[in-house]
Symmetry: C2
Subunit: 350 residues, 2 copies
Amino acid sequence: MRRHSRIVRIGKVKIGGDNPVLVQSMTKTDTRDISSTVKQILSLEDVGCEIIRVAVPDKEAANAISEIKKQIHIPLIADIHFDPRLAELSILNGADKIRLNPSNIEDKEWIVKIAKIAKERGVPIRVGANLGSFKVRPTNVVKALIDSVANEIKILNDVDFDDIVVSIKSSDVITTLQANMKIAKMFDYPLHLGITEAGPLFESLVKSSAGIGYLLINGIGDTIRYSISDEPTVEVEAGFSLLKALHLRERGLTIISCPTCGRCEIDLFPMVKRVKSEFGNISVPLKVAIMGCVVNGPGEARDADIGLAGGKHSGVIFKHGKIVKTVPEKDLYNEFKKELIKLIKERSSS
Amino acid sequence: MRRHSRIVRIGKVKIGGDNPVLVQSMTKTDTRDISSTVKQILSLEDVGCEIIRVAVPDKEAANAISEIKKQIHIPLIADIHFDPRLAELSILNGADKIRLNPSNIEDKEWIVKIAKIAKERGVPIRVGANLGSFKVRPTNVVKALIDSVANEIKILNDVDFDDIVVSIKSSDVITTLQANMKIAKMFDYPLHLGITEAGPLFESLVKSSAGIGYLLINGIGDTIRYSISDEPTVEVEAGFSLLKALHLRERGLTIISCPTCGRCEIDLFPMVKRVKSEFGNISVPLKVAIMGCVVNGPGEARDADIGLAGGKHSGVIFKHGKIVKTVPEKDLYNEFKKELIKLIKERSSS
């Protein structure tokens, strides 16, 4: 069962409550380079990114937000560290949310000022804790992260601000999930999930899916981000891949394909790749199975909308676990493709 | 806390109890092609594979086991469907474990015969359930999978055989974990985990890590396999990547690297790739951090043994969160590499 969280509005989208879990990413461009940043955000929108965060390390970056916002279509979060003037400037330039750790701000009058302007403009603040925030390594990291977040929240609550999103990330999966399981019970603010510095694509897919997946399966999490040392679009694709796998979102193509074994007598992997490259961008939800053998193929992939399974010099095409056509191996992919296109058209028009 | 499971011996390795969670894979070659199969198993051993499964679709494949076994160094599981004679033949040819669903075998006298020979030779049997085993789609899939496994176990127990490993896999993550959470409480046999037909590399890393990860975090699972429609070595690499992330195994290089953002002023991803390609095969456990900026870099990667963080025209090298050296950007990678090699030598000799 999903954790109860309050609804927070970020620009035109809402998170928390019964709203779908949204997929975020963060730009890897220099925010001051407006055209590169916009280009990257538009490419992220193309793969479905629903909220974008940009780093705001200086005034020029904060001022760039205004022009960036004009050219994009999804809410923008300004990521700020230490300097409260950049928070104010980002809000004035139209940021839809700011990420700010109030305990990093030494001049407490600034907290009052930022909370006031954020409230006036309906801009929520994401607070969070990172291991890096502590001067020395705490003996109990989970407790330290939670205490830190609770302190951030208190600072904002004390100036009558509660339009808050919380995020606790660590590069350690277990630390991240322990801290989130606890904070989820302490407050009802929406939670943004991620494993920080999760590494290259391969490693991050493993770590982030295990960590974010565990929390989502436990009903925790309102937005997610895969941090990956790679192109930003893969972060979004991974996010949707996980949400689809956990039945939290429906979206485009899902491939069920077997790893092959000594029973497989067809060249399966190239067909898997072709389906992915030719149909990876469809918008209707469709489950496609590509199986090495007929023995278990159709039955095991019974939940697939359509599938193929290889045999000896031939293959079968099946729908919902039932064989509808047997074709010679050389025609297998093309016949399958025809059926697949037909199915996509039916689905799209219904 | 880890689930209590009984210990089962598979050739020279033990699973269950307090034994480490082992990483399995399955060959994708034609088992009858002995040289290709051996070559693939040896390449899997190279990346750490601890148990290998091969498909046994006919007598020739069963007979090949004897020669394959001579040339490999890890226990071998014979994967059999329907034909009990292949189970007997595989055991006689030296298989260390057989995968067999007794309910698939119509002649019940064969069950007695297989159980007898398996017991004599100390060969355990893995039973399991797949959605494909059901003639029609059950209304309650989780219950059907559990009932099916319970039935398989009963058939073996009835002939006084209990050297059993259980596996329930589905291509659906939620189904897999719900069924495993329940079966884990019903029996104390070791559990082999996996998401079946999990798809291409990207999709499988997401689905398998979420599903297998959830169960492992809950203390469930004694062996694991990533099913991936790709080269078999990635299945093993993914397995260890997950076990390392969950602190269940220690092994070689762990990369902590940031996704970069507008604050990063160095070309980080090529350095991540270089570290992975140059040091991906080290055997000593070592955590390496590669961070885009100095602001949070060393602090957030405090748990890393060694790391680098980019700055403006320079970078820093840090150990355990403390900066030990500042170097011009052009020398950053080479200086870092020197320190890394030094550290690996220290670790290896201690």
